[in-house]
């Protein structure tokens, strides 16, 4: 098997990471949805109170980190399937990484403003 720089990482890690992060995000989704539905109607006060609580900040950061990793594996798979030219594929993968890093940085900024 030839190892391609713009290919997959030829191991269990990405595959497993995508699944572990999926489970983490699913748990977060159910908990936050339950909290939001329980707190409805959501006013500005309820909304900001929720996001200033320690557990919510940490859980949301974990969610964002999971999402970043999950997105990277998923979008990279899409790029690998449809973009055949190595140069363009590498360029797109770099753009995707930058976008994901930007998302993560922005989330931290939103949570701890």
């Amino acid at each position: 098997m030839s190892r391609v720089v713009v290919g997959a990482h030829y191991g269990l890690r990405d595959w497993l990471a995508q699944r572990v992060t999926a489970v983490l995000m699913a748990v977060y989704t159910v908990i936050v949805l339950a909290v939001l539905l329980g707190a409805a109607p959501i006013s500005y006060g309820v909304w900001t109170d929720l996001f200033t609580q320690g557990w919510m900040r940490v859980a949301t950061l974990l969610f964002a980190a999971s999402l970043a990793w999950h997105m990277w594996v998923g979008v990279r798979d899409i790029v690998m399937d449809y973009v055949r030219a190595d140069g363009l594929r590498l360029a797109l993968q770099v753009v995707v990484l930058l976008v994901i890093a930007g998302y993560l940085g922005w989330t931290v900024q939103i949570l701890w403003r």
Binding site: R19, A26, W47, M71, V75, Y103, W106, I110
Partner: protein, 133 residues
């Protein structure tokens, strides 16, 4: 492999007509491609969702502005599509986790769980949409 397979007319060139009328994607295939489409959609839309989260937490005026913005019908429609994308990705993802564990891989079960994923994600979308507005 078998002689029956060898007798088939190969290669089969795909015409537009064949793609549209002769070859039908089985239900698990629909779940699969929609899983990919919804994932791509969510990746692209995250910048928009983060922007709304940012505005809504920044100030009370921002919160009210986002609430008004989310009431506009094109925004409402887009959000509904994203809610569907999330629900579909969620439900199909759970199905794939079970498939990874070798559960539900036989044809009948796989078909049944595909229908469940498609129906449940639409029902969840309708329910969440109703809750949101």
């Amino acid at each position: 492999m078998s002689t029956a397979a060898a007798k088939k007319n190969r290669p089969k060139y795909l015409s537009l007509q064949a793609l549209l009328f002769e070859i039908r994607l089985p239900l698990p295939g629909w779940v699969s491609i929609l899983h990919r489409v919804s994932g791509a959609l969510l990746f692209l839309a995250t910048v928009w969702l983060l922007w709304m989260l940012d505005r809504s937490l920044a100030s009370e005026a921002g919160f009210d502005a986002v609430r008004r913005y989310a009431g506009l019908w094109p925004v409402r429609l887009s959000l509904l599509v994203l809610i569907w994308a999330y629900c579909h990705h969620f439900c199909a993802g759970i199905r794939y986790l079970f498939l990874d564990l070798d559960k539900g891989v036989d044809k009948e079960t796989a078909r049944l769980t595909s229908v469940i994923v498609l129906v449940v994600s639409l029902a969840l979308t309708a329910w969440l949409g109703a809750k949101l507005w």
